[in-house]
């Protein structure tokens, strides 16, 4: 292709591209209308090519989405179905139960220590979430609003420390907890300590959010007679609902699903297990799998329920634009 050809081609390409961009939203609109109104169809003809293209694109996108959701959903559906299987307890070659029933759930609560594990996990998660929430919010507010010596250094240090995986400290932590008598049967206290100890380091997200709340709100409140704690409690937190919810959820989910630390700290004493460790123990050997597989599935479903409820309940607090009208705008 000569240089001249290249030059001639260029504007054409640009034109085509612009046309596409301009017409796409229009034809989208018309498409919607066309379903109800056949009169539009004649006008549509001109855009037939365009319409076909859009449709092809949509079909592609939907196909991809369907495949992705199938990949995501299959394990969940599988587990739920298995948990209702009554005819056998071992792994089978089919998915849909031949006999439906709540046998597995009943056995889970009567024949295993699942209630104990569930309670353990629940206590650990709730306490850890609350303590972690308080620590993270105080930390974030401090780093966002107060200026003190070493603030930058502290933030950098925490950033770097946060990059090391928590597992690194496991052996040392176990030793310390064991000496303090917070392992095995007493794992609740030990695990809470492990989960909340460094939680202040997770300040990034909420500090970033606090930074977007105008400082003059703090100042106005302080002039109005509030101390720092009141500013945080009465002004900043009500404006930060989404971030409080986010912090609470992540703080709750960590301990709820943790396996590594929980199994390590509980160390073979089943009273100290949390749900993850307990359920894993149910299928830890081939004979266990044969005896408990469907019970394990029922446990999985039960474990998912609180998290699902929590999400459904808290989702509505993710409100955007909560700071509207605070300052000029």
């Amino acid at each position: 292709m000569s240089e001249k050809d290249l030059k001639n081609n260029e504007p054409q390409v640009v034109e085509e591209f612009e046309e596409e961009k301009l017409e796409q939203p229009e034809s989208d609109l018309r498409q919607e209308v066309a379903f109800d109104d056949t009169a539009v169809v004649s006008r549509e003809k001109r855009h037939m090519g365009m319409k076909a293209k859009t449709r092809a694109a949509n079909i592609t996108i939907y196909v991809i989405l369907v495949i992705m959701s199938a990949v995501w959903l299959v394990p969940f559906i599988f587990i739920v179905l298995q948990s209702f299987r009554c005819e056998s307890t071992y792994l089978t070659g089919y998915v849909i139960p031949k006999q439906w029933g709540f046998d597995n759930y009943a056995r889970l609560f009567t024949e295993t220590k699942f209630p104990r594990w569930f309670l353990n996990t629940f206590i650990i998660s709730v306490v850890a979430a609350v303590i972690q929430l308080i620590m993270v919010l105080c930390m974030s507010y401090t780093l966002s609003r107060l200026r003190f010596k070493g603030r930058k250094a502290l933030m950098n240090a925490m950033l770097i420390l946060g990059m090391f995986p928590g597992m690194l400290t496991m052996i040392v932590l176990y030793r310390i907890l064991a000496d303090a008598g917070m392992t095995q049967g007493n794992s609740i206290a030990g695990l809470i300590l492990v989960y909340v100890a460094s939680s202040g380091m997770g300040y990034y997200v909420s500090k970033g959010f606090f930074d977007t709340i105008p400082k003059s709100l703090d100042e106005a409140a302080r002039v109005d007679g509030a101390n720092r704690a009141q500013v945080l409690y009465k002004i900043i937190l009500p404006l930060s609902k989404p971030i409080v919810i986010y912090t609470l959820l992540t703080a709750f989910m960590g301990p709820w699903g943790d396996y590594v630390f929980a199994s390590y700290v509980a160390f073979n004493v089943s009273d100290g297990y949390n749900v993850a460790v307990g359920l894993q123990w149910l299928i830890s050997t081939p004979s266990n799998i044969a005896a408990n597989y469907t019970i394990f599935c029922a446990g999985g479903v039960i474990v998912a329920i609180p998290i699902t409820l929590l999400f459904m309940f808290l989702q509505k607090y993710y409100v955007e634009g909560v700071t509207g009208g605070a300052v000029k705008g």
Partner: protein, 393 residues
Amino acid sequence: MANVKLTNVKKIYQGNVVAVHDFNLDIADKEFIVFVGPSGCGKSTTLRMIAGLEEISEGTIEFDGEVVNDLQPKDRKISMVFQNYALYPNYTVFENMAFPLRLIRPKMSQDEIYERVTKAAEILGITEYLTRKPRALSGGQRQRVAIGRAMVKDCKVFLMDEPLSNLDAKLRNQMRAEIILLRKKINTTFVYVTHDQTEAMTLGDRIVVMKDGYIMQVGTPTEVFDRPRNLFVAEFIGAPKMNTFKTNLVKKDGKYFVTPFGAEIPVTGQKADLLAENGIDSQEIILGVRPEHVVLADKPSKETIRVILQVNEMMGNELHLHLLTDDNTPLIVRVPTMNLTDEFRNELVMGKELYITFESKVMHFFDTVTEKSLLYIDKEEPVQEDEEEINAE
């Protein structure tokens, strides 16, 4: 209600940036003080130090003789209105205004809170918005709420940090008038920060003109307008700004003349007396002439300057003519339109040749090096000067 005394107050940021130098000021009880100056002059910083929102690097701030340097803002018994309103978006207007009252210990009764808030709302004309959230209000309404929140509680000092600068021009004029009325009702000590010299002139009992962290002049609006102590104050106060340019002051047979652009204009009246009193001799000076003191002359003479009209701004009641002298010095003149003939006004287009002279009694003279006034010389230390002015009132 309190008198506020700032002694050698200094603000140093991060070890080396000095925002406020040696600020000395004695604010009388129930006085309305305005800090005015261009951005970055330290006026807001000083106000924030009074509020307790900024640490005081050096010096002391006293309310009624009590040093408040180390008091938290909440313990200083102040109220403050912020430039960006700073309303609490999560609360209704009523709760915004009740907020300071709810924090008072021992607790204030619900009835009293209700009474105070509704009374303030009534004064400000925002009663009908009490149940709304701030985001459902217009800029002017938000500003009223901010003022309302500041006025519900009893305070020693009422601080305002550029409260009108986010409003449009018309609303600003209206709110300015309202603040003057409000002041009569609240009757406490006011410190008001603005960069707008009109606000400063119209609101203040006294004006503190600041530049680069220094106080340039403290005085009543009349004082800073009529008797500017230095070139900066002369140029900053008054709109359009004063014409200033280098020229010569000549003393001939005990009489003073200025010789701008080849003309010879006599200096008469009180200004001439003051020059003589201060023993000023012939020298190069910076001459300051306010636009309203430039006079259009009918025909050229020894006292007139030839200028070319550049821009004619029609303000309604007056014209602002932007002129250029033969050596390209820009001048501005204000001409009232009342007595002008239509014919003459039609002739005022770009390129028109005009002759001007200056009112002989109201010129200002500044030293070319120090830029201080040759008429009004500070004879004493600034601290005492402030006290003198207080006493004079």
